[in-house]
């Protein structure tokens, strides 16, 4: 059950819980976790262990058959990431799930070899994100079979080989982001007709396969046993029934923050991922967080880059560097949906300008970005680009040195060209 070097020990024959110690425990074997583990192992961080709960490591790219993963398809990207971590000397364990905490840096684990308690000098949380399911979207109607997320759809097709009628015959895709296009492509590749894509935003990237209903929403699911249709309200306010037996809810990503939260790791109110500084340190000494756990979804290459970033901070921590203070919190305002990291060291201690990822809530042509601390304007700039809600803007926070470490929260605000905030 292990892709990496052998796991020492096994279930205690007395039936007890195995207690083990490692130097770095990485929870989650996706792009961020694997990149962190590879870099740490290369740097000689001692025993670096990755826990992947699924049967194979690699994370979401494993079941994204398309390209666009740093020049590779998802599965190839995933395999290369696993290989890099293993070759570097990290232990990549699969089928091993972290289920809770037994101490500040002690994680409870369930594996086929038995339950364990693993204590680490540093814990990196890289548990990824998930799509908000139908129930949490509060879409009314019946609860028929045939309603799924992109994650389930892609696993069904890429990992379990389901085709055609095993999935459905006529599908409707819900979503405005590129992931909606990927879901439609997966469906068509599996021989399922895509009846329509229902995109709540009136604009957005090209969405494929069948008509795209922009500015429309699914207002009711119909069908007993199996889905038989969805009631859609169009941009003009009129409703109609789309007959389909399959409905895929895409996007609307949520950080999978269960382990972070159950360990008392404070969350960022904007992203609902752990609150971190530019070194991706959480507020709990020794606990780090990286990848899409931080804020819903960014591309796999961004998550992997964060894995490398967190590795450097972990390495410094293992070498005895003091745990930095919290820094000042960053708050998103106006048409800025959220940002990460959500805390920065500022003033003389700021160091080189950290990059902040800004995620707009709306399409914004050349918006105005203002940064304030209290009444003080730290920075103002017209962003010379069209921002889209499915992409983040990388913002180098050169203004951090000018902020007051005791001055409280720094507010970042995006506003449309004319200064108003679109609704």
């Amino acid at each position: 059950m292990s892709d990496g070097p052998g796991v020492p020990g096994g279930a205690d024959p007395s039936g007890g819980r195995l207690e083990r110690a490692v130097d770095v425990l990485v929870v989650g074997g996706g792009p961020a976790g694997l990149a962190a583990a590879a870099r740490l192992a290369v740097a000689g961080a001692g025993r670096v262990e990755v826990l992947e709960r699924d049967r194979a490591a690699g994370g979401v790219p494993r079941h994204c058959g398309r390209g666009g993963f740093g020049g590779f398809t998802g599965p190839v990207f995933a395999r290369r990431a696993v290989r890099a971590a293993v070759r570097a000397g990290a232990a990549v364990r699969t089928g091993a799930g972290a289920t809770g905490w037994a101490g500040p840096l002690t994680v409870e684990v369930t594996a086929p070899t038995g339950p364990e308690r693993i204590t680490a000098r540093a814990v990196v949380l890289a548990t990824g994100a998930r799509e908000r399911p139908r129930s949490a979207r509060l879409v009314p109607g019946t609860r028929p079979a045939g309603v799924l997320s992109t994650g389930e759809l892609q696993q069904s097709v890429e990992l379990f080989g389901l085709r055609g009628g095993r999935i459905g015959r006529r599908a409707v895709v819900v979503g405005s982001d590129p992931v909606a296009r990927h879901a439609a492509r997966t469906l068509r590749g599996a021989g399922v007709t895509v009846v329509a894509t229902v995109a709540d935003r009136p604009y957005g990237p090209r969405l494929g396969g069948g008509p795209v209903l922009r500015g429309a929403t699914v207002v009711e699911l119909v069908g007993r046993g199996r889905l038989s249709g969805v009631v859609v309200r169009g941009a003009d306010g009129r409703t109609g029934l789309l007959r389909c037996d399959t409905l895929v809810f895409t996007g609307d990503w949520l950080p999978d923050h269960e382990l972070a939260r159950s360990g008392g790791v404070p969350l960022d109110p904007g992203t609902r991922g752990p609150s971190v500084d530019p070194g991706l340190r959480t507020s709990v000494p020794g606990v780090f967080a990286a990848g899409n756990l931080l804020r819903g979804v960014e591309p796999a290459v961004v998550a992997a880059a964060e894995g490398r970033t967190v590795a450097d901070a972990v390495h410094a921590h293992l070498a005895g560097a003091p745990w930095p203070g919290p820094g000042v919190p960053l708050r998103a305002e106006g048409a800025l949906r959220h940002l990460s990291p959500g805390r920065l060291p500022v003033g003389p201690a700021a160091g080189p300008a950290p990059t902040v990822l800004l995620r707009p809530a709306e399409r914004l042509p050349a918006p105005l970005l203002t940064v304030r601390q209290g009444d003080r304007l730290l920075y103002e700039c017209r962003v010379p680009a069209l921002l889209e809600p499915h992409r983040s803007l990388r913002h180098p926070a050169h203004w951090a040195v000018d902020a007051d470490p005791t001055g409280g929260a720094v507010t970042l605000r995006l506003a449309a060209e004319d200064g108003t905030v679109p609704v």
Binding site: D12, T110, P112, G114, R134, P140, A145, G151, E152, F160
Partner: protein, 473 residues
């Protein structure tokens, strides 16, 4: 003993004979009746229109094990809930059905409701329940620190409990089948040809004809329609829809008791209750409908629930929603059940079991068997039922994924498949091989919790489906 899902159901276990009793409807009440009958040397069949037991209102309720403190005193319902509650609590302990006696608080939000509390305490006494206790506002907030502002006081009912509504009918059905009852699923009854004095009734089902000497109607929402097949028109079932919202497990720490509304002039209000799976439930709505299949949720219903939930427990709405569902109570216009024996027809109707059926089920089982005996069924000697021990779905009790000894003996219990709910390969395998196996992914969910968590299958859906369709290798 057998479970059939297709083909002509065996007309009778003995050629030339007939069943002694056929119970129609395998909801929680029908399953309890079949189990009670299985104590006796009788040939019994439990016949169900859908593909699984507990598929109707039994799977979509508030999952509360009531004391019966607020029943209408003197009714059959009052007695059945009181007796059934005690019986089910003991049965749950014996068979491993998760129950948590968290207690209930009837929270008063205005003077009128506060004034109603002593009357409710008095009503509880008339229902044979003597352990209610008034709580001041300060005591209430000490008990429930996350309660919204403005509550004036409460009445505590310490013995109200939460129970697993999925395991309960499954335990009854499992025990009934293991004790000799035939369970015929996907077997809707389309016509009844009543027998004469010496002739058995003939039940024309979609799968063939069943013959039986005695007949029990446990058809829930369709009890009136089944009565009509025997020419009886004693009541009409009006489905009363209850929509419910289940919140993420992170909401569990917000609430310690079942928070009940005080019934008043402004309607019944909604409750907030923990679930044995570690979630928090908000609901139900109460909408009188005509369509017995209208188990959908509505935008208006969900908005109303959220508005009420926000007032009772403001932090609740900050958490994600895990599930939304709607169930239909079998209301009949009477403030009581509609249970009647028709000796001339060798027929018992167990109808109008609105909202308290889960709690009352075991008492209704006993009561129905007494009515059958009164109608002429010779029960014969009583024998012990086959023992059952159900897999634990409760968060407050040991689960396999943490059991070192179990995993050492069988690594399948250390292989988590559904990560949100920590359901292991071993538990899924066991459910698929169980006495009454699931017929659908929803059935598997109700037996294991697989896919019942916050991700709703994003992570594990394809894997669980593969295990269900291909089997556990």
């Amino acid at each position: 003993m057998s479970v059939t899902r297709r083909g002509v159901p065996p007309d009778t276990p003995a050629p030339g004979g007939a069943y002694d009793v056929v119970v129609v409807g395998a909801g929680v009440v029908g399953c309890a009746i079949a189990r009670e009958l299985a104590r006796h040397p009788l040939r019994v069949a439990l016949v169900e229109a859908s593909g699984d037991i507990g598929e109707g209102s039994s799977k979509a309720n508030t999952a509360i094990l009531h004391t019966g403190f607020d029943a209408v005193p003197g009714t059959l319902e009052s007695r059945m809930v009181r007796e059934g509650g005690r019986l089910l609590a003991a049965y749950a302990e014996e068979t491993g059905i998760p129950v948590e006696r968290v207690g209930a608080l009837l929270v008063a939000w205005d003077e009128e409701q506060l004034a109603a509390l002593p009357r409710l305490a008095d009503k509880a006494r008339r229902n044979g329940y003597h352990r209610t206790r008034p709580l001041s506002a300060a005591e209430l907030y000490a008990r429930e620190p996350c309660l919204g502002p403005g509550a004036l006081g409460a009445l505590e009912v310490p013995d109200e409990a939460i129970v697993c509504p999925w395991t309960t009918p499954l335990a009854y059905a499992t025990q009934a089948v293991r004790s000799g009852v035939d369970l015929h699923l996907d077997c809707p009854v389309e016509e009844v040809r009543p027998g004469g004095a010496a002739e058995p009734h003939r039940l024309v089902t979609r799968r063939g004809v069943l013959r039986t000497r005695f007949l029990v109607n446990a058809c829930g929402l369709y009890a009136d329609a089944f009565d009509a097949l025997l020419g009886r028109k004693d009541f009409t079932v009006t489905p009363r829809r209850g929509q419910l919202v289940v919140f993420d497990k992170f909401a569990r720490e917000l609430v310690r008791h079942i928070l009940l509304p005080v019934p008043g002039a402004l309607g019944k209000g909604v409750l907030i209750a923990p679930t044995v799976y570690g979630n928090v439930m908000l609901g139900p709505t109460a909408e009188d409908l005509t369509d017995k299949a209208a188990t959908g949720s509505t935008a208006e219903g969900l908005a109303a629930l959220r508005a009420q939930g926000r007032r009772i427990l403001p932090g609740l709405l900050d958490e994600e929603v895990t599930a939304v569902y709607a169930g239909l109570r079998a209301a009949t216009g009477a403030e009581d059940y509609r249970v009647a024996a028709h000796p001339e027809l060798r027929y018992v109707t167990v109808g109008g079991i609105r909202s308290t059926g889960l709690t009352a089920s075991l008492a209704l089982g006993r009561h129905t068997v007494e009515l059958l005996a009164g109608a002429g069924l010779e029960l014969g000697p009583e024998r012990p039922l086959a023992p059952v021990r159900m897999p634990n779905l409760g968060e407050a009790f040991p689960r396999p994924y943490r059991d070192a000894g179990l995993i050492a003996r069988d690594p399948a219990y250390g292989t988590i498949v559904c990560h949100c709910e920590r359901v292991t390969l071993g538990e899924i395998r066991d459910a698929l091989a169980s006495t009454v196996p699931p017929a659908s992914l929803d059935g598997l969910r109700r037996r294991t919790r697989a896919r019942a968590g916050r991700c709703q299958g994003f992570s594990c859906g394809a894997a669980v489906r593969s295990l269900f369709e291909e089997g556990v290798r």
